[in-house]
């Protein structure tokens, strides 16, 4: 059953598919003829590449992904050595490479698909970013010289108890990379992680982020995907202890023949946990392709959960495709709130009319509307310098639209 969003009349008039449901209880969601949906927490997981079946491209996990373009990452040999990074000295943070047998590795999550497992099987060293205390300055770790040879990566970000920090993972240049990123928040930690994909146009990048959020800790997580040929960043957040909280944001802009995918998973696994998922994207040019999947599982163990997820896409030209698939599984009746919304549409004519009626040209009006639409996410980062830089990057993307 679906009810329209509040703006559905305007949306329908403009041919927009709107979708917004209240909570759906898993047991009653699937028609009888369907294979029962496997609960997300029971999905197979392993760190070994060989434990996963060959990828055909028909699997639920891969059917929306151009697997033929990323075979080298799913199955190929990977260089797992440390690579060059750049970062400033920031008090309260340490950045170092650690060996793969370090006991901290593997504590946040386990790969659920073959490309992620391929990265795990092949990395030699992991990049450790640790924060402690109240870190005032944003720490930006940049990699820009990965090159085109297929690579495996592994990163761990640890936030010590009651620490607060903003960590930016900035990726540029060329890459053929599959990687895992573990994010561990100890009790009371407040961490913002911004994963910035500003790759060169031919880059291939698959990433799984596994966050484990401790008691009364909060993770704000941003996936910003602008550059690259195929970029698939899948963040999962395990709300593992009482009072844990996460806000997962994403913003993406797909140009012609660009595939940008994000599969988000929020696992409410402790009482009084809260999650908000907000992803917004724009598509422009023939073959521009985006995928957003938002899985939220509210487990028996998570009474008092408060959860909401949404995805909005703005279509700027013909020949694009945006998939937007929210899934909400609820195992406990005792929740504060759970909901999801998804909408993919063209420009709202009324927005354009309003701006144009003030003398603003159609081209400028479109630019304002798109920038406004996407900047709602950027504004949430809370780091003015970075926000300005990302807005400028979005403006550059938009120049191609006119």
């Amino acid at each position: 059953m679906s009810t329209s969003t509040t703006d559905s009349t305007a949306a329908e008039r403009l041919g927009i598919r709107a979708h917004s449901d209240g909570p759906v209880v898993r047991a009653s969601a699937a028609p009888a003829s369907f294979v029962p949906v496997q609960t997300r927490s029971e999905r197979f997981a392993s760190v070994h590449h060989a434990d996963f079946a060959e990828v055909t491209g028909f699997e639920a996990e891969w059917k929306l992904t151009p697997v033929d373009r990323i075979r080298s990452l799913i199955d190929g040999e990977l260089d797992g050595s440390a690579y060059a990074i750049m970062y400033p000295e920031v008090e309260g943070t340490t950045v170092e490479w650690i060996p793969r047998d370090d006991p901290r590795i593997g504590t946040a999550g386990t790969p659920e698909e073959r490309a992620s497992a391929n990265a795990w099987t092949n990395f030699d060293n992991a990049l450790l970013i640790d924060v402690s205390g109240e870190v005032e300055t944003a720490l930006t770790v940049t990699r820009s010289t990965l090159g085109d040879a297929p690579r495996a990566g592994h990163t761990i970000i640890t936030a010590q108890p009651n620490s607060s920090a903003l960590v930016v993972l900035d990726s540029r240049g060329g890459a053929t990379l599959t990687e895992n990123v573990e994010i561990l928040l100890a009790e009371g930690a407040h961490l913002t992680v911004v994963s910035l994909q500003e790759w060169d146009a031919p880059a291939l990048h698959l990433a799984s982020h596994f966050a484990r959020i401790g008691r009364n800790a909060q993770l704000k997580h941003f996936v910003v995907s602008l550059g690259g040929s195929v970029v698939r960043v899948n963040p999962s957040a395990h709300l593992a202890e009482e009072g844990s909280d996460t806000e997962l944001f994403g913003v993406y802009f797909a140009d012609a023949d660009q595939h940008l995918e994000q599969r988000v998973y929020v696992h409410h696994d402790a009482p009084h946990s809260r999650s908000r998922v907000t992803y917004k994207g724009a598509l422009n040019g023939h073959g521009a392709r985006t995928v957003w999947v938002g899985d939220v599982l509210i487990a028996h163990s998570a009474p008092g959960t408060d959860s909401y997820e949404q995805n909005r896409n703005l279509v700027l030209s013909e020949g694009t495709r945006a998939d937007s698939i929210p899934n909400l599984e609820i195992e406990t009746g005792d929740i504060v709130g759970a909901g999801h919304a998804s909408a993919t549409g063209r420009f709202d004519d009324e927005h354009l009319f309003y701006l144009q009626s003030r003398g603003i040209t159609e081209e400028e009006a479109r630019r304002l509307v798109v920038l406004g639409f996407l900047s709602e996410i950027i504004q949430k980062i809370g780091e003015p310098v970075l926000e300005q830089r990302l807005l400028a990057a979005l403006e550059a993307e938009l120049r191609a639209v006119a």
Partner: protein, 255 residues
């Protein structure tokens, strides 16, 4: 002297039930500095007239003309009309997510004038204009119309009227939904714009209430897509006492 001349204007829209003819031959001439009230019952086509002047794509002109100083307005894009000096204060202003009021106002002013206003004096001008309309300065940082109350939206429309300084403004039920205090503030803004720029105004309203604060030179009674009667301010007083009933007798019931 500028003139906005509407001649035998016929307008339809496409609905699910087919083509609907709304304006059935409207004649109206506005000169610079004049205030014309257009009064009529709900559904008579007042907003259709306003939107058609502004160029909303939904409204299809079937016949007639709109000229601004002899120029064919109907051939102009929406933004070209605004740059030529036309302004519409909307009955239902839309929210524009992520676009701040300050960014919007500066972009609009730049578009109308043809070059960006110098930042310092512009900021002062905006602040003064907002103060006059009793708008808190924090409005600048908010997104256009997002979370604005009905009254705040209307003030924001009049703020734009004062800042963009058009030759002719159409005010579509700017008074509806305002309490007396807000109505006074908004009316003051309209009168200020009128006094300082010699603006011509088409004041669309359902009620006579706003005419206590903004004095029209002419009153046009609008019924079923046409001007049914014209006169001076005394016509508004008659409407106040008698309502629209005597204009509606020919109407089929329920129309």
């Amino acid at each position: 002297m500028s003139t906005l001349k509407i001649t035998d204007l016929k307008v339809s829209i496409e609905t699910d039930q087919g083509t609907k003819h709304i304006l059935k031959g409207v004649d109206l001439t506005l000169n610079e500095g004049e205030i014309h009230a257009v009064m009529g019952p709900n559904g008579s086509g007042k907003s259709t007239l306003a939107y058609t002047i502004a160029g909303h794509p939904r409204y299809k002109v079937e016949g007639g003309s709109i000229e601004l100083d002899g120029e064919n307005v109907l051939a102009m894009s929406v933004d070209a009309r605004a740059r030529a000096g036309l302004f519409l204060a909307m009955q239902y202003p839309v929210e524009i997510p992520g676009v701040t009021v300050s960014n919007f106002l500066r972009t609009a002013k730049t578009a109308i004038v043809g070059e960006a206003p110098a930042i310092r004096p512009w900021t002062t001008t905006v602040r003064e204009a907002m103060k006059n309309l009793r708008m808190d300065n924090e409005f600048s940082a908010r997104n256009v119309n997002e979370g604005f109350s009905g009254g705040e939206k209307k003030r924001h429309e009049i703020l734009q009227l004062e800042l963009l300084q058009p030759k002719f403004a159409v005010l579509d039920e700017t008074d509806s939904g305002l309490d007396v205090d807000a109505l006074k503030i908004v009316s003051e803004g309209v009168n200020r714009a009128h006094d300082t720029t010699g603006l011509g105004i088409l004041l669309i309203t359902h009620y006579t209430r706003i005419l206590r604060y903004i004095t029209p030179d002419f009153v046009h009674v609008f019924v079923d897509g046409r001007v049914a009667e014209e006169g001076g301010p005394e016509l508004a007083e008659r409407l106040e006492n008698e309502g629209y009933d005597r204009f509606l007798v020919d109407q089929p019931a329920g129309a």
